[in-house]
């Protein structure tokens, strides 16, 4: 993991520059996907380690890093589903009731829909970019966002009935 066998262009200084410029944003993204600050930081740290040891020729390391983070976060989210069944819930965020309600609903969505919604409404990504990041078709990305939003809307309505 800490191997020094890596292309020259991924120098320590470049990775460190990326770390300083991208880390906070990536932790935020991972946090929104996983729902856990601690896990999000682990994911980002792991992603930087993977980037640093990558032997791939990278034309856009930042973009590549973002994709690593997203994949790692999705894996972490799936693992967390198992943990959730057996561990007490991690204390949540101090949010206004209205926002907290939405956060809880988002937390209950299937993984793909949650990720698609985060990419669309937090990162303002295009459907084509969402599709690329999630490794699916553009129509699928559009569908995931549509269904996720529809599900949130319906559950909001049910909560207030």
């Amino acid at each position: 993991m800490t191997s020094d066998v890596r292309p020259r262009h991924l120098s320590d200084s470049l990775v460190e520059d990326l770390y300083r410029s991208e880390r906070v944003g990536l932790v935020r993204l991972a946090l929104l996907v996983i729902g856990s600050r601690v896990a999000a930081e682990d994911v980002v740290q792991e992603s930087f380690l993977r980037l640093r040891s990558s032997s791939a020729e990278l034309s856009d390391p930042a973009r590549y890093l973002r994709r690593i983070v997203l994949n790692e976060a999705r894996q972490a989210l799936r693992r967390r589903e198992v943990e959730r069944r057996h561990l007490p819930a991690e204390p949540g965020f101090a949010l206004q009731p209205e926002l907290d309600e939405m956060w809880q609903l988002l937390d209950g969505l299937p993984e793909k829909r949650r990720v698609a919604l985060v990419l669309r409404y937090y990162e303002d990504q295009s459907f084509s970019e969402i599709a690329r990041l999630m490794d699916c078709g553009e129509s699928t990305a559009r569908s995931l966002v549509h269904r996720g939003l529809k599900s949130l809307r319906r559950k909001l309505d049910a909560n207030h009935d």
């Binding site: 880390r23 935020r28 930081e41 972490a76 198992v82 069944r85 007490p88 409404y121 939003l149």
Partner: protein, 411 residues
């Protein structure tokens, strides 16, 4: 109900609010030594006394797989740990006194130590998830358990067939005691039935079980039913001497089939049962299934989505509506002769019979270019599905023509 725009706005505000909890001032000095980097300010929600240094998730994940595999085999060999031990494992994991992960050397078939590694913590949690039913064993007592308590859930990990998962065999003894052996199989690996058989034999020799009625092998059944693309969950509700009751979740609702299985070695013909499940998608049931085995059938309809949730899939060529209910099940309706509605959970296709037509509703990811059906007369037909790109759903229609459907490929 809030509008879509209102929902979008609330979602944006919520995401921004949560993201803003990670402040720029939380930035830390780069450290690529492999360990997680301590934050400048410890998060307020970290549990008191939780001094774990989180290991990289790749170690965590790889360790989890290895330990899970060997741990499960260990359980298979030595018999399951008592339910209370599973619970204690999870409890001690919560307590969170965790030494470095390098201490993980393999499976444990005894009570996990108070101090666990991060990997064994997860292993314990996962096993606890895999053996939920076992944890109920203490509650069974000497009496024959209620049917609900005997429900065997396979594939607890939620992974689709063929990529690994857990299998459980249920053994009901003559006095009503229940023993369950669990095995985890990795991707592409076959379940070792002989090991299971040996396990049961050991239990018998130990006197744990006075008499073994049968072993139920979940995998073949899962294969058959999942192969139809239905979300047909096979739940074993009772295995007694002389009768077997099986519940299948099919397109129209729960199908409860009671089968006379006087020979415990021959439980039921899964293909024939699959045939019933398939027919359940249509407008009628074939109740003449296997006259040598008396059966009764009960259909419990599932609740449908509200009327205003239905979306028109295509009203130019043929009318079908698609909707999702509160459990994210997809439903489809058609107005071809006999209206149908069929839910499907987490599948990429819904098969539905409507009058003389057989309809395949497909959901994207990946998008199939063609759907191929094979009929019982050996003929095959292929149709390119019609797509609604907004919904990422499409459908293909086939005339039944008095034939029986054998298989559907493509979605």
């Amino acid at each position: 109900m809030p509008t879509m725009i209102e929902t979008e706005d609330r979602l944006r505000h919520t995401l921004d609010a949560v993201a803003s909890s990670v402040r720029e001032s939380d930035e830390v000095t780069p450290d690529f030594t492999g360990a997680a980097v301590p934050m400048a300010t410890p998060p307020a929600h970290r549990r008191k006394g939780d001094s774990r240094r989180r290991s990289p998730s790749f170690v965590f994940g790889a360790g989890f797989l290895v330990v899970l595999l060997f741990g499960s085999i260990g359980i298979l060999i030595s018999g399951l740990e008592p339910a209370g031990e599973s619970d204690r494992a999870a409890d001690s994991a919560v307590a969170g006194t965790v030494p470095p992960p390098t201490e993980v050397t393999g499976p444990s078939t005894t009570t996990p130590p108070a101090e666990q590694t991060a990997t064994s913590e997860f292993w314990a949690l996962t096993l606890a998830g895999m053996v939920d039913t076992v944890s109920q064993r203490d509650h069974f007592g000497p009496d024959v358990p209620e049917p609900e308590a005997l429900v065997t859930e396979s594939w607890k990990t939620g992974e689709p067939f063929g990529t690994g998962g857990s299998m459980m065999a249920t053994v009901v003894t003559a006095d009503g005691q229940l023993t369950i052996a669990a095995e985890y199989v990795g991707r592409g690996e076959a379940i070792d039935e002989s090991a299971l058989q040996a396990e049961v034999a050991d239990l018998t020799a130990e006197g744990t079980a006075e008499h073994i009625d049968t072993i139920w092998h979940s995998r073949d059944t899962e294969t058959a039913l999942r192969g139809e693309g239905e979300r047909a969950e096979f739940l074993l509700t009772e295995h007694g001497s002389g009768s077997t009751q099986v519940t299948v979740l099919t397109a129209l609702g729960r199908l409860v089939v009671e089968v006379d299985a006087t020979d415990p070695a021959v439980l039921f013909d899964t293909n024939q049962l699959m045939g019933i499940a398939t027919r359940m998608s249509g407008t009628s049931l074939d109740l003449t299934w296997n006259p040598d085995h008396p059966l009764s059938v009960e259909v419990v309809p599932l609740p449908e989505p509200a009327a205003d949730d239905w979306l028109v899939l295509d009203d130019d060529l043929w009318v079908a509506w698609v909707a999702e209910d509160e459990d994210d099940r997809l439903w489809v309706k058609s107005d071809v002769q006999d209206p149908i509605s069929a839910p499907s959970t987490d599948t990429r296709s819904i098969h539905a019979f409507a009058g003389s037509q057989f309809v395949v509703i497909v959901v994207g990811d990946p998008v199939p270019e063609v759907i191929i059906v094979t009929w019982d007369d050996g003929s095959r037909e292929s149709v390119e599905p019609t797509w609604n790109t907004d919904l990422d759903m499409g459908f293909a229609r086939f005339d039944i023509g008095g034939r029986e459907l054998v298989s559907v490929e493509g979605p």
